[in-house]
Amino acid sequence: MQNESTPEIPLAADGRPLEQSLQRALRAQKIRAFLLVVPLLVFVLITFLAPIADMLYRAVDNRIVSETLPRTVEALSDWEESENEPPEEDVFIALYYDLFFAAENKIHTRLGSRLNYQETGMSSLFRRTGRRVDRFDTDELTDAFIDFDPRWEDPTHWITLSEHPEFANQLPETAGVWDDWTQLLIAEEDELSEEEPEDLIYFALYRDLNNIGQPVALMDNWSETVSAAQSFEPVSLREQFADADEDWLLPSVWGTIKRFSPTITDGYLLNAVDMQKTADGIEAQPESRQIYGLLFGRTLFMSLVITISSILLAYPISYFLTSLPMRKANLLLILVLLPFWTSLLVRTSAWKVLLQQQGVINDLLVWVGLVDDANRLVMMNNQTGTIIAMTHILLPFMILPMYSVMRTIPPSYVRAAKSLGATNWTAFWRVYFPQSVPGIGAGSILVFIMAIGYYITPAIVGGTEGIFISNRIAYHISSSLNWGLASALGGILLLAVVILYWLYDKFVGIDNLKLG
C-alpha cells in the first residue's frame, strides 16, 4: 500500500499517509474514551435499566391464567361469550381438574385476586369454590369403582395401570390427571404408592371409559370394567360448580377468564387509563372506578402549581443574589443550599410540625389574632400541605439554574436601556427578563420532573387529596398487591418523565445541569 502512495500525500512519521494515520489516532481516541465509559454503562444497565425493563414487563405479563388453568383455557376456545350461555360440560370438567390442582398447590387464590382486578367478585368466587372442589359429588363415582372392584382403592393398582404402554393412548384424560397427581405428590414428598387417589382421577377414568372406542385390555377384567363404568350414574360438574357458587352459571365470569387467558395482556394498561376490556370490547370504566385519570391530572396540576410557585419565589432571590458581590452572594447561597443538603425526611417532618392545626403557624396566627382559635387553618393532609412542603423542598432546584443563568447577564444592557430613557420597569421587562428566560426554563423542567415522581412528602403531609400517582403505585405494590397495575401506572409516569427529560435535553442540554 505504501508503495502506491504518491509523494504529494503528506506522510506521518511512521510512513503512513497522514490522513489515514490521523483517522487511526482518532479511532483509537474514540475507543479509549468509550472504554472508559463501558464499566459504568454496564453497571447502570444491570442495576438500573434491567430492573426497570423487568418491571415494565409485568405491566403486560399475564401467564398466570393459562398456567393455572391450562385445560380450561383450551376448552374455552370453542365458547363465545356473545352466545350469552354458560359453556358446555367439558369446560366445567376442565375447570374441575385445573382448580383441584390449583387449590392443592394453593395458587387458585392468587388467580382469583388477579382476575378480581378485572371483575370484582372473582376473588371470592375462586376462594369459595377452591374450598369446595375436593368435596364435589364425584366421590359417587369413586365409590362405584370400588364397589365394582375393591382393588381400585389401592394406589398400586393404579400404578400398574399407569405403567401400561397404551395407558396414555387409551385413557388420555386419566393419563393427564394422573401425571399432575404424581407431580403433586413428588412436590409434597409423599409416596405415590401410599396416597389414596383423589376423586378426580376416578372421574377422569369414568370419562375415558365412556368415550373409549376400540378397547385394548389394559388390565385383567378390563372389558367388564369398561362396561360397568358405562353404566355408572353420571355426575354433572356444571351442577356441582353451580352448587358451590351459582356465579359459575354467569357467562360474564367465563368471559372474564377467556378474555384474560392470553399470556400477554393489555388489561393493566387499560385499567391504568381508566378503561377496561369487556365483552363488547374496550370501554371506559364505570364512573365510580375512574380514578387514575383524576390522579394523573392531580399529579400534573400539583406539579404545575409547585413549579409556578417555585418560579415566583426563586426569581427575586436569584435576581437579588446576582446584584450582590460574589462573596456575599456565595454566603447567602449557603442558605439556599442548606435545605438542599438537609434530609428530605427532616424537612418533611418540619413541615408537619409547622402546618398541622395545632402547629406552629396556626399557633402564631391565633396568638397574633388573625385566626380564631376555633377555626384554625387546615394546611395539612390536603393539597395545600403537599404544595407548600414540596415547593420548599424543590426550590433549590429552581434557584440554582436560574442564578447561574442570571449571573451571565451583563448589567450594562439594563444600564444602556435606562440611559436611552427606559423606565425601570421597561428596562427590566424588555431587556433583562428575556435574557433570564433560559434559566426559568431550565429550572422549571427540572422541578417539574422531580415533582411528578414524588412519593415520601405527599405520603406524610398529603392526606388523601394531596397524594401523587407515585403513592398509588406504592399502594399497589405493597398493599393491594396488584403489581401489574402498579407497573402499568409506573410505565405511564415513566413515559411522561422521559418526554420531559428529552425536552430538557433539547432545550437546555443535559451537560448544562449544575449542582451548586
Partner: protein, 286 residues
C-alpha cells in the same frame, strides 16, 4: 439598576421599592430556612410530642431536656441505623465515584461517540421517579437474590449517586487543559501515571464534591432502601421514616438537628473546595 446600594438622590418610590424588595427576599430566605430552624428547639422538648409546650414558650427550663439526644445515641434502633448508614454510604460512594469519574473522563473526550445519548442515560437515575426505580429493583433484585442484602442496597445507592458524580466531574473537566496530558505522555509517562499525577489533582475538587453528593444521596435515601433493603440494612433515613410513622418520638428531631449540623459541615467543605478549584483553574476573581 444596581441593587446593592441606594443612591442618596433616590426618590420615595425607589426607596420603597429598594426596601420592599429586600424585605421580600428576606421573607423568601426565611421560608427556606424556617422549617430547619423550627425543629432545633423542638428537639429539646421535654415532652414526647411534636408541639411546642407552654413551658417551652415560657422558656421554663423544665420544658427542655436532652432526653431525645440521649435516646438517639443510646437506643440500639438508632445506633444500629447509624452503623448501617456508615457501612452502606461510603461503599456506595466509592463505587459511584470510581466508575463515575472514569466515565466522566471518557465523556469529556471531544471524540467520545454518542456522547449526548450516553450522558442522558447515565444521568437518568436522578430523573426517573424513585418509586419506579425502587419497584423495579425490588422485583429484579428479588429475582437475582440481591433483595434484602447488604450488596443489594449498596449497588442500588451507588447507581443513584452516579449522576451527581458525572455532573460535578464533567463540570471540572470543562476547564481542563488537554495539552497537559499530552505533555505528560510525550515526556514518557504512562497513561496511569498521567492520570494520577496530572489529571486527578486537577479534577479532584469535582470528584470530592461529586463524592459528597453521592454520599449524601445514600445517607439520605429512603424510598429505595425501604424496598430493596431488609431490617439488617435499616439505615438512618429508614429509621426516621419509621419514627415518623410508627412511634411518637421527637427523637427524629434530635436526629434531624444532628444531621443539619453535619450538612453545614459538608456544605462548608464543598464551598471551600469550589473556591480552591476555581482558584487553581484561575476561573474566578473572587
Amino acid at each position: 439598576m444596581d441593587m446593592n446600594t441606594l443612591p442618596s438622590y433616590a426618590s420615595t418610590g425607589e426607596k420603597v421599592w429598594f426596601y420592599g424588595f429586600r424585605v421580600l427576599c428576606g421573607l423568601i430566605f426565611f421560608f427556606l430556612v424556617a422549617p430547619i430552624i423550627v425543629i432545633i428547639p423542638l428537639s429539646f422538648n421535654a415532652q414526647n410530642f411534636f408541639t411546642f409546650t407552654k413551658e417551652m414558650l415560657a422558656f421554663d427550663p423544665a420544658g427542655y431536656s436532652l432526653k431525645h439526644y440521649q435516646d438517639f445515641f443510646t437506643n440500639s434502633d438508632w445506633t444500629g441505623a447509624i452503623l448501617n448508614s456508615i457501612r452502606i454510604a461510603p461503599v456506595a460512594t466509592l463505587i459511584s465515584v470510581s466508575l463515575g469519574t472514569l466515565a466522566a473522563i471518557g465523556l469529556s473526550n471531544p471524540h467520545m461517540p454518542f456522547k449526548r445519548l450516553i450522558t442522558a442515560f447515565l444521568i437518568s437515575p436522578m430523573i426517573v421517579p424513585l418509586v419506579i426505580s425502587a419497584a423495579g429493583m425490588y422485583f429484579f433484585f428479588s429475582r437475582i437474590g440481591l433483595q434484602g442484602t447488604y450488596w443489594g442496597v449498596v449497588l442500588a445507592h451507588a447507581v443513584l449517586g452516579i449522576p451527581f458524580v458525572i455532573i460535578t466531574v464533567t463540570a471540572t473537566m470543562v476547564g481542563f487543559d488537554r495539552s497537559l496530558t499530552r505533555a505528560a505522555a510525550s515526556l514518557g509517562a504512562n497513561p496511569i501515571t498521567t492520570f494520577w499525577k496530572i489529571q486527578m489533582p486537577l479534577i479532584l475538587p469535582g470528584v470530592i464534591s461529586g463524592g459528597l453528593f453521592a454520599f449524601i444521596t445514600s445517607f439520605d435515601e429512603v424510598v429505595v432502601v425501604l424496598f430493596v433493603g431488609s431490617s439488617a440494612q435499616k439505615t438512618l433515613p429508614w429509621q426516621m421514616f419509621i419514627g415518623l410513622r410508627e412511634q411518637i418520638s421527637p427523637t427524629i428531631l434530635a436526629v434531624a438537628t444532628v444531621l443539619v449540623a453535619l450538612s453545614i459541615l459538608l456544605l462548608t467543605t464543598v464551598e471551600l473546595l469550589r473556591r480552591r478549584s476555581e482558584r487553581i483553574r484561575g476561573l474566578t476573581p473572587g
